[in-house]
């Protein structure tokens, strides 16, 4: 098995999973199998790229930049692995907790295509192809949102759909303009071109549109209006996946395109703006979370705040900050997905996720409390859980740049995150239990426990994991291996 075959597996297994589900009247098992398969393939890619090697798959055997290329480097492989992991967890959780209504409406096939869109976006080395995978991902998410019944959900769906479509159009126009100006869409080719030409500033107006498109998808304030209403209406099994994938794809695109392709002379367009947006996003998101009284809503606002951290990592743009940002992405996807799953457990256990309607879970189900505590503490950044290393590396990076604003923001926003987690803990988990409660089911519990265990392992084994992130960041900062894999000796000859 060559790494190229693993790349193909990451793309085709979700398709086959979706096809299998469609052909068997909504049976979720093919999707689960496809997700597990692509998880295995992406783990194999993580191993293969661990030392900094990059593998390119020239689709159709056309040499780059003439055809489309899929590229697996350390960054892409890590993202593939964690996203597939959360997809598997979410599918299992959905099978066990969602009503048949969702299955009838093709939920599982759509989950599979959602995963496909994400995998494609991580792997592609072509700007327009990235647009296509974005649309695959986005339309799947639209369709999943549209399944949720209720007037509030409909309203939220509209907002979500329209804002994201505007972002897609911006992306499309930007891709067209960039092609018009440069004549190529291939990431490696674009990067080579920008490095070689003195006129790279000419694309800044087009990259502004691209920047806007990615920033909307990543939910940076003030472009994040679609998120706070949309996520809380989803059932937790699905919001876990949305939280893990959607904003992260936007961030991934920012990292990949701005942090690698558009880098000239050690910087990239709109970096200053990104820095300030990141600070505002961190602060605004966590303040939004502090004001909420529903677990789902608190967690949704946290996503925004955390996105700010990761964007800050990109804006700082030092090797340590980028490595920290990549580690942050990996950590966040697992932890955030798990927190939503735990919310699902709480809802199943107590019938609500509103803080004024639940109390005393520590008494009625200490296991759920423990399952909440692990990702919550990790998100808040307590050692030795994964979140600490993520925040800590950012703190270190900002202090070594003597960037006081960033450092203060990192510390204070972390404190406010603790405050809002404390609010959940004190209201829902502590206190005298009241109301009815039913026992939690085994499989969802085990799913969440597995993700919790991974959080702990990510923390305790953060040495090797951080080393992976460091390699991935080095690959972005010095994409020589990437260029070599795409355009160099691995490139097929012109027929």
């Amino acid at each position: 098995m060559t790494p190229q075959l693993f790349i193909v597996a990451c793309l085709l297994l979700p398709v086959l999973g979706a096809l299998g589900t469609l052909a068997t009247r909504g049976n979720p098992l093919p999707v689960l199998a496809g997700a597990i398969g692509s998880l295995a393939a992406s783990l194999a890619l993580v191993v293969a790229t661990a030392e900094g090697s990059v593998f390119a798959l020239h689709v159709g055997n056309w040499p780059a930049p003439y055809g489309v290329v899929f590229v697996a480097d350390g960054f892409a492989a890590l993202m593939l692995a964690v996203c597939s992991l959360v997809l598997v967890a979410s599918v299992i959780f959905s099978i066990k907790t969602l009503s048949p209504r969702y299955r009838r409406r093709h939920l599982f096939a759509l989950l599979s295509t959602l995963g496909l869109g994400a995998n494609g976006a991580f792997l592609t080395g072509d700007l327009f192809n990235l647009y296509v995978w974005f649309e695959v991902l986005l339309l799947s998410s639209f369709a999943i949102m549209a399944m949720v019944p209720g007037g509030r959900a409909h309203q939220a769906t509209w907002r979500y759909v329209v804002i994201n479509l505007v972002a897609s159009l911006l992306f499309l126009v930007a891709a067209g303009l960039i092609y018009g100006k440069t004549g190529t869409l291939n990431f490696a080719d674009l990067h080579r071109l920008f490095r070689a030409t003195p006129h790279s500033f000419l694309i800044e107006s087009s990259t502004a549109l691209l920047f806007g498109a990615f920033a909307i998808k990543a939910a940076l304030i003030p472009l994040a209006f679609w998120l706070p209403k949309a996520y809380p209406v989803l059932p937790p099994a699905l919001s876990a996946l949305f939280a893990a994938l959607l904003t992260k794809i936007g961030l991934y695109a920012l990292f990949r395109v701005f942090g690698m392709v558009l880098v000239v002379n050690g910087t990239f367009p709109h970096r200053e703006i990104l820095f300030w947006l990141a600070i505002v996003t961190m602060t605004g998101g966590v303040l939004g979370a502090v004001a909420q009284n529903d677990m789902r809503r608190i967690l949704s606002f946290h996503i925004i705040s955390q996105v700010g951290y990761m964007a800050l990592a990109l804006a700082l743009f030092t090797p340590l900050a980028l490595a920290g940002g990549i580690f942050y992405l990996v950590h966040h996807i697992v932890v955030k997905g798990n927190l939503f799953l735990v919310t699902g457990l709480v809802e199943q256990h107590r019938g609500s996720s509103r803080l004024d309607e639940i109390s005393g879970i520590v008494r009625t189900s200490p296991l759920v409390a423990l399952l909440f505590a692990v990702p919550a503490l990790s998100l808040a950044g307590l050692p030795p859980l994964s979140g600490f290393f993520a925040k800590f590396s950012l703190l270190m990076a900002s202090l070594s740049l003597q960037d006081g604003i960033a450092a203060v923001a990192i510390a204070l926003v972390g404190l406010l995150t603790i405050y809002s987690m404390l609010k959940i803990w004190a209201a829902a988990f502590w206190g005298e239990p009241f109301g009815e409660y039913c026992p939690t089911k085994g499989v969802p519990l085990a799913t969440s426990a597995a993700l919790g265990l991974i959080t702990i392992v990510l923390g305790l084994a953060s040495g090797p994991v951080f080393a992976l992130a460091k390699h991935a960041a080095a690959g972005l900062l010095d994409p020589q291996a990437y260029l070599e894999a795409v355009l160099g000796s691995g490139n097929p000859d012109i027929p």
Binding site: F128, Y131, V132, E135, L139, F142, A143, A146, H154, T157, W158, V161, V162, L165, V166, S168, L169, L172, V173, A175, G176, L177, Y179, G180, K181
Partner: protein, 98 residues
Amino acid sequence: MELLVAATIGLLVAAGLYRLLGGCRVDLIIGLILLSQAANLVILASGGLKSNAAPLVGRGQSLETLADPLPQALVLTAIVIGFGILAFLLTLLIRSSK
């Protein structure tokens, strides 16, 4: 001529934005339709405009005079994707009016 085309596309964008900000859901959809038409034209136009130069090879025209085929392929993909998304948006419109 380039100026004229660019201005026309600008007008399409303006019309689309105007409609988009109309507030009701029909406005949103019409706005998005106009904007995606404009986006397609932007891609085609920014690749360069040539008439009577359809990219069909083997008909005696020298390759240098043919229009750039890649933006056309991109626009084609974009049209189809936009088509799928708009169709889906219309189902949302129908549902909300149920």
